[in-house]
């Protein structure tokens, strides 16, 4: 419909501009409009425009899902944080009261601290260890062993977090767990893996690293594949040893993968929920309670939707600030060939 309308206007404009010898102001205006319509029609017909339209059609599903599942909920969450709403009755506008209350909420500050510490250790474990495991796997000569190890490390990543948590809950039981059984066989005292505040936190980090390390290993393996072998050959000719090749070629050229992994790991770690929820329910005390757990309890336990939304907003800005900082700092240490 739109195309035919444009074509009609364009054709009318051409006739009008050709036939009119006397250029009255009205005629000139009409001629300009006609030229614009002709230009638009030409643009629509151009290859570039067709490509652009096809491109928009290609991204339409993603764009729609982004709008429906990300942008609209994010804006709704921002709006909700300004209201006192219990799901059942009409929301009351309270301005920034939820944020003021949040700043004085000791439990929120505790959960924020727990989340930050978890993010720090889990990111270090996942990204740091993942990189060295990838380098180790990549240096193996036998391709079958490389493929086996790659798969073995990746398998935990595809298992549901809840299943992983239940499995570790069984393995790490204090009195009857398999891990403590073998430790006691070695003469090591049983460890309260999930029942002491200190150990529960460590266990959760350990489980998170066990589950996610394969994903980061895979990213680093892909990064390693992209490093040209000529660089190593040249380094060998120059007499560079293994350590020099690692620190001067491998690690600098892995920094784009490292940069990507750090951002992904940090965002994921700040949103941690399932493993704590299943294994410790935030305890003992609040030792393993994270912001998302507290948020869930406030939203669906106490039905304080506005207050929970304000937590989500704070978490969103923390993650945003950290990501921006990383991107800014990334310019200084990430090497792109």
């Amino acid at each position: 419909m739109q195309y035919s309308a444009v074509r009609r206007i364009a054709q009318t404009g051409e006739r009008f501009s050709t036939l009119t010898s006397v250029r009255s102001p009205k005629a000139q205006e009409a001629a300009i409009l006609a030229r614009q319509a002709t230009a638009s029609w030409n643009w629509v017909n151009s290859l570039r425009a067709r490509e652009a339209i096809a491109g928009y059609f290609f991204i339409l599903p993603t764009l729609l899902s982004f709008l429906v599942f990300f942008l609209i909920p994010t804006i709704s969450g921002l709006g909700m944080s300004l209201f006192d709403w219990d799901f059942f009755s009409d929301p009351d506008y309270v301005g920034l009261d939820n944020f003021i209350e949040l700043s004085q909420d000791k439990l929120f500050l505790t959960t924020l601290k727990n989340t930050a510490l978890f993010a720090l250790f889990a990111t270090a474990g996942n990204v740091g260890l993942g990189m060295f495991i990838a380098i180790g796997i990549n240096s193996i000569k036998w391709s079958w062993l490389r493929a086996y190890l790659r798969t073995a490390y990746f398998i935990p990543f595809v298992i549901s977090t809840v299943v992983v948590a239940l499995m570790f809950g069984f393995l790490l039981q204090e009195s009857t767990g398999v891990v403590n059984y073998y430790l006691s066989r070695l003469g090591i005292q049983r460890i309260p893996w999930l029942s002491s505040s200190t150990w529960a936190f460590r266990s959760i980090v350990l489980i998170d690293v066990w589950k996610h390390i394969g994903f980061f290993t895979l990213i680093f393996l892909a990064g390693l594949q992209a490093i040209p072998s000529e660089l190593y050959e040249a380094a060998l000719v120059d007499g560079a040893g293994r350590r020099v090749r690692l620190t001067r070629i491998t690690i600098p050229l892995l920094t784009p993968s490292l940069f990507f992994s750090l951002i992904i790991a940090l965002i994921g770690a700040f949103q941690v929920f399932e493993s704590m929820y299943v294994l410790t329910n935030g305890g003992p005390g609040d030792a393993t309670r994270t912001v998302v757990m507290y948020l869930y309890r406030e939203a669906f336990g106490s039905f304080n939707m506005g207050y929970a939304a304000s937590m989500a907003v704070v978490l969103f800005f923390i993650i945003l600030a950290l990501t921006i900082t990383q991107v800014r700092l990334g310019d200084r240490w990430v090497f792109y060939r």
């Binding site: 059942f88 039981q173 009195s175 006691s184 049983r190 505040s197 005390g285 309890r297 106490s302």
Partner: protein, 429 residues
């Protein structure tokens, strides 16, 4: 003449038949949403609807499973499901959830049905009045009781026998109990770790409530407006319960699969409910292999006590077919359906709410010798916490008592914090 009359009568009859058939509409197809706990598979719940679907061929049931970790979580998930647009008509839920669901307008009051439907009188006469009363809120009935639970101490007869102990007396004291637990606890292979434990309990409300009731106290007062944690009787009972693990070493610390250990003979005594039968039967334990006894009291003179809770069926306020939903609820609390609790082969093995089923031969055959003790503590027990702020209170209890159970906080510190935090929650509500 006669034949004309006959023909006219026949034609008239046919006309009336045709007219009435045309006027009477075919019964509309109706789908009723039914929320149930997914701890039991759907087919076990489907068995409850035999008879109902035959009587109402136009009804289809949309089974909506909801995971049941705790009643607070279960209720939250139901509410979230409904807010998400799922059509729910009949809900299976527990006493803990009634105040919240009633106050939030999720459940429909059932008094109008109870008053207008004479068929329900038979159930009202048979159901335990305590359970019926427990499912009321603000003088209105919201659920009809189906099955109830309380807790007693289960003991494994073979483990006690191996330790040279007779079956415990019903009026035993804390000292007696400690002696039993100490005698049972053994390091059989001498590796420095206990292989057989005397007793196990967690810091859960469900496990600690009976210790408090047996010592003349509870978590809160009768109407749940005043915490009782800082009462001397509460502190004394909680201290004894904690010391069993950390002072006397007769119970394992940390997470522990107590039911598996009980069945395997590496745990002598544990806390469980009538529903516990259902978990022991498939593990190969017969009703003769174990029995139940009251919680001990400090002096042995106090009446044994525990806490009890009940589940039931109710209708949502949003139900588009409340009359049919009511028919479904009536069916679910019928003797026929409730009898399915007795053998422990269906969705639940909790005790039936109908008093007429309390001594049913099927129940007696599938239960330990002293099963009737559950009924005795029901009479003396306290109801579980049922207040609109139940989830908040439960979280406060867990927060501090889990630290006591991890030996990271003293009982005195914990009760002081619980008392203060619960008072704040109650004041806010």
């Amino acid at each position: 003449m006669k034949s004309i009359l006959k023909r006219s009568m026949l034609i008239m009859a046919l006309v009336i038949l045709a007219t009435t058939t045309a006027i009477t509409p075919a019964q509309d197809e109706v789908t009723l949403g039914f929320v149930y706990g997914s701890f039991a598979p759907q087919e076990k719940w489907e068995a409850y609807f035999e008879g109902f679907l035959e009587a109402h061929p136009n009804v289809t049931i949309n089974y909506i499973p909801v995971p049941l970790d705790s009643w607070g979580d279960y209720t939250q998930k139901i509410v979230t499901t409904m807010l998400g647009g799922e059509q729910v008509d009949v809900i299976w839920n527990a006493i803990e959830a009634v105040p919240l669901m009633a106050e939030r307008g999720v459940l429909r009051e059932l008094d109008s049905f109870l008053e207008s439907d004479p068929d329900i009188q038979e159930f009202l006469d048979d159901a335990n009045p305590k359970l019926l009363e427990g499912l009321r809120w603000n003088d209105q009935q919201y659920l009809l009781p189906f099955a109830w639970n309380t807790t007693l101490i289960y003991y494994n007869k073979a483990v006690l026998e191996a330790a040279g102990l007779p079956e415990p007396p019903p009026d035993w004291t804390w000292d007696d109990f400690l002696e039993y637990a100490t005698t049972i606890t053994q390091d059989t292979d001498g590796d420095g770790n206990n292989d057989v434990w005397g007793f196990h309990h967690n810091a859960w409300l469900w496990h600690l409530g009976p210790w408090l009731v047996s010592n003349g106290s509870f978590f809160l007062n009768e109407d749940f407006t005043e915490p009782w944690y800082s009462r001397p009787e509460s502190i004394e009972a909680l201290q004894f319960a904690r010391d069993l693990i950390w002072e006397h070493g007769v119970g394992p610390s940390g997470s522990f699969n107590f039911r598996e250990a009980f069945v395997a003979g590496t745990l002598g005594m544990m806390i469980d409910s009538p529903a516990g039968r259902q978990r022991l039967i498939p593990a190969g334990m017969s009703a003769d292999d174990y029995d139940v006894v009251f919680f001990p009291t400090k002096s042995g003179e106090a009446a044994p006590g525990s806490q009890w809770g009940t589940d039931g069926y109710g209708i949502t306020k949003d139900s588009q077919h409340p009359d049919l939903a009511w028919e479904m609820v009536k069916h679910l609390v019928s003797t026929e359906v409730m009898s399915k609790l007795l053998s422990g082969e269906f969705a639940s093995a909790s005790a039936p709410a109908r008093q007429s089923l309390a001594s049913d031969p099927v129940l007696v055959a599938a239960s330990p010798a002293n099963y009737q003790r559950f009924y005795e503590v029901l009479e003396n027990g306290r109801t579980v916490i049922n207040a609109p702020y139940f989830a908040e209170l439960a979280e406060i209890h867990d927060r501090y008592m889990s630290q006591v159970w991890a030996n990271e906080m003293s009982v005195e510190e914990a009760v002081a914090s619980i008392q203060a935090d619960m008072e704040a929650v109650i004041a806010d509500n």
